[in-house]
């Protein structure tokens, strides 16, 4: 497969997943904002959200105040924000258009339809579009793309590159979403375990659509330890870091078998998975949740860079 084609496929997946995450960020934010302000840490919840999403500075430059309406614009409609839903969908479609021949009609259709519908949403008066509608629509559009990939695409190396993109982006995004919690509730120990604390954790679960699943898996009280375990270490959770690392490994191994060559990408993938698989939640908290997440975001990004150098750049001789 052409390296550039593999690169386009990989980025279709990354942008689709990122669009979904931006919508999830919006949802977390809007729910947290419904609660009274804790009064400490970052100025408000929306600001915290922007910090975790990594776009706080760009936002401040363009909009100034972190009020809901501006955040909606920034996270959903604003094409100047590379992580907005509109920007991600636009790029996913652009990448898909370039590699139409590597996609089935159904996959193209799902991506293209999402793009056309987005144009429709952009034309509506803003007073008519609620955050709930925007986030629901985004998740449905993303699910349709994902579903048509799983249902119709040939299981060749292209499929592996798509899934690799999804796995790495999701790992990054889960880590970032978890980190929102850190930014919202800066070290004020007395809040830990309070009703507010639990509400925030629950909101996070909701935003990742794993709220009910969490209760099935753990039951009882919502605690920080349980949630961290669920979202980082539990292989049953579809968004857990360990699940993402395992998926990345599966597809890296398929590539190695198909191409008959084990590379640095496989070695790094294994190392990441092994580190997560052996970890306990106590160790995570000992290191500090924020510090741990920052480190993982760095490692996932390093793995992405190795995948790029090995397969996507075409520089391998």
């Amino acid at each position: 497969m052409l390296s550039r084609t593999a690169d386009n496929l990989y980025w279709i997946a990354r942008y689709m997943e990122r669009a979904e995450t931006s919508a999830r960020f919006l949802e977390v934010g809007s729910r947290i904002a419904l609660m009274p302000n804790a009064g400490e840490g970052y100025r408000n919840e929306w600001d915290a959200l922007l910090r975790a999403a990594g776009t706080a500075d760009a936002f401040a430059r363009k909009y100034g105040d972190a009020v809901q309406r501006n955040i909606e614009s920034h996270m959903f409609f604003d094409r100047d924000n590379p992580a907005s839903v509109a920007a991600c969908l636009g790029r996913a479609r652009e990448n898909a258009r370039i590699v139409r021949t590597a996609l089935t009609t159904q996959v193209w259709d799902a991506i293209n339809t999402a793009f056309q519908e987005l144009k429709g949403l952009e034309r509506l008066p803003r007073s008519e579009v609620s955050i709930a509608r925007l986030t629901d629509w985004t998740m449905r559009a993303a699910a349709l793309v994902r579903g048509s990939i799983e249902a119709t695409l040939l299981r060749n190396d292209g499929w592996d590159f798509l899934n690799l993109g999804y796995a790495l982006e999701r790992a990054d995004n889960t880590a970032r979403l978890l980190d929102v919690k850190y930014f919202v509730l800066l070290p004020r120990v007395e809040f830990v375990g309070s009703g507010l604390d639990n509400y925030q954790w629950t909101t996070l679960l909701r935003a990742m659509s794993v709220h009910r699943a969490f209760h099935w898996a753990y039951g009882g009280e919502v605690t920080a330890a349980k949630i961290a375990h669920f979202l980082i270490l539990n292989p049953q959770c579809p968004r857990a870091l360990v699940t993402c690392a395992a998926a990345a490994n599966t597809h890296l191994e398929r590539l190695a078998r198909g191409y008959g060559a084990v590379t640095e990408a496989q070695r790094r993938g294994h190392a990441l998975l092994a580190a997560l698989a052996d970890l306990t939640v106590e160790e995570v908290f000992d290191e500090g949740l924020h510090e741990f997440l920052t480190r993982i975001i760095g490692e996932v990004s390093a793995l992405g860079a190795v995948v790029h150098d090995t397969y996507l750049s075409g520089d391998q001789r």
């Binding site: 497969m1 052409l2 390296s3 139409r100 021949t101 293209n112 060559a261 001789r317």
Partner: protein, 481 residues
């Protein structure tokens, strides 16, 4: 709806209507007349919407250079097909193949001994001082002696047996994806039409194209050749076509950045390392092919490509330099080429053409601007063109000044009475002017699928069919015997 009379530049011209002649329906359209008559009132707009939806969903859109606006604009598709009988087509086919052969013989000749110039049959200036003449390939004989592997010949019809060649496209004619998709969509929407009429299929085109490209693999290729399509990228207006053809043939669609030269060969960058490429169907202009040989600022091409080409390591389709043959000034000499290389009389006629470079011609043209069509020698896409009878006095005056400033850049032709085919319009069905572009494949053999792209001028009375100027497309049928 008999042959319509139109007042045209002070003269009355009759247009040949391909469906109705002397008030009677011509035989190939007999069943379509029935179909049209019995189509329920609401069905047409429904089907039209369905067709547009299909086009948009499969992504056939057309971006027009320099117009800005919606890059996802559709070329209007007209559902009323254009029909040829087997006998009409047989003659066209012979004429088209004859022309494609002569054009290739001409190209091989002028890059070698130039016999046709030595024989005085075409002026040396027109060949060797032609902008499209590539000195860089002089002396090279490409595999199988083919320069132009896909020849698009634009034809217009003025009567039952009168066809004229408007121009030849020897480089990389586009539009063939419309020929294929128009058929696909018609078959999906109106299967009953295909049961009632015996229509020859066109879908062998991609197989024939693949075979044609494989047949011109370079001397150094000792295996099943690796074929790729080289595109300028997804911003190009014909990108859809490039990816569509790559998909149909099962070959990679590459950009310049995906290729590199090492040793004696061209390689593409793949996820498994470099892979050797043997045949490149390039959809970029000569000037951009190789920055080391042509335009140094080109980022679309592949540095060193021409060295590999010259040493027989890769085949380029069309071969660099093929553009000399489709120049509008060289065009006038194509009948001469047919006589010179093939020893045959041309089956298809040229449109009489005045070269503004010649003084006598120039005087004639300036005298009669309001009745002529004037074109730039190197123009295409309907740009830089004057249709005298349709132009205002100011437009004519402006063009007169342009011609006076640079006569050699212009040719002129009589305004042809382009035939019409019934077309769906807001008020129902009405005749609209059409042309035809068949795609002739030249490799080890010369092949032509029975069909082509019919372009239609959707505005009443308009003679400009270019999609960049608001033209549409139709499915083109060739009936079986």
């Amino acid at each position: 709806m008999a042959g319509r009379q139109t007042r045209n530049g002070g003269r009355v011209t009759a247009y040949f209507n391909e469906m109705y002649e002397d008030g009677r329906v011509r035989a190939p359209y007999a069943r379509l007349e029935d179909w049209m008559r019995h189509m329920p009132a609401g069905l047409r707009s429904l089907k039209q919407a369905e067709a547009e939806d299909l086009f948009r969903r499969i992504g056939i859109t057309f971006a027009v250079y320099g117009e800005g606006g919606d890059p996802d604009r559709l070329i209007p598709f007209d559902m009323f097909p254009r029909v040829f009988t087997a006998a009409e087509w047989a003659r066209l086919e012979r004429g088209i193949k004859q022309r494609a052969r002569a054009l290739n013989a001409f190209l091989v000749d002028i890059y070698q001994r130039g016999e046709i110039v030595r024989a005085g049959r075409i002026p040396a200036r027109l060949v060797y001082q032609n902008e499209a003449y590539e000195k860089a390939v002089a002396g090279i004989r490409p595999p199988k002696g083919v320069y132009s592997h896909i020849v698009g010949i634009d034809l217009v019809r003025t009567g039952p047996d009168e066809f004229f060649v408007l121009e030849d496209n020897c480089r990389t004619p586009s539009g063939v994806s419309y020929m294929l998709e128009n058929r696909e969509i018609m078959m999906r929407m109106f299967p009953e039409l295909f049961q009632a009429n015996r229509i020859q299929p066109v879908d062998a085109y991609s197989d024939l194209l693949r075979r044609t490209l494989a047949s011109v693999a370079p001397a150094k290729c000792d295996r099943d050749p690796c074929i790729v399509i080289l595109t300028p990228g997804h911003f190009n207006s014909a990108y859809y076509e490039h990816s569509f053809l790559a998909d149909l043939m099962g070959v990679e669609l590459v950009e310049g950045q995906d290729l590199f030269v090492e040793g004696e060969f061209v390689w593409m960058r793949t996820t498994q390392g470099p892979k050797r490429v043997d045949v490149i169907y390039r959809r970029i202009d000569d000037a951009f092919l190789d920055p080391l040989c042509f335009r140094p600022d080109s980022v679309l091409g592949v540095p060193g490509l021409m060295d590999v080409y010259r040493s027989g390591g890769v085949a380029l389709c069309s071969a660099p330099g093929a553009g000399v043959a489709d120049d509008k000034a060289v065009y006038t000499f194509v009948p001469e080429m047919i006589r010179f290389y093939l020893g045959e009389e041309p089956i298809l006629q040229n449109v009489p053409t005045w070269q503004c470079a010649r003084e006598a011609d120039l005087a004639y043209v300036m005298d009669r601007l309001p009745e002529l069509v004037v074109k730039e020698v190197h123009g295409s896409g309907g740009y830089g063109m004057l249709v005298g009878p349709k132009a205002s006095a100011e437009q004519i005056a402006a063009f007169r000044a342009k011609i006076a400033a640079d006569p050699a850049n212009y040719i002129a032709q009589p305004t042809l009475a382009l035939s019409t085919v019934p077309t769906f319009v807001a008020e129902g069905v009405a005749p609209r002017h059409v042309d035809l572009r068949p795609y002739c494949l030249v490799g080890e053999r010369v092949e032509l699928v029975p069909g082509g792209l019919t372009r239609v001028a959707l505005t009443e009375g308009s003679l400009v069919v270019n999609s960049s100027q608001g033209g549409g497309v139709k499915d083109t049928w060739v009936l079986a015997e």
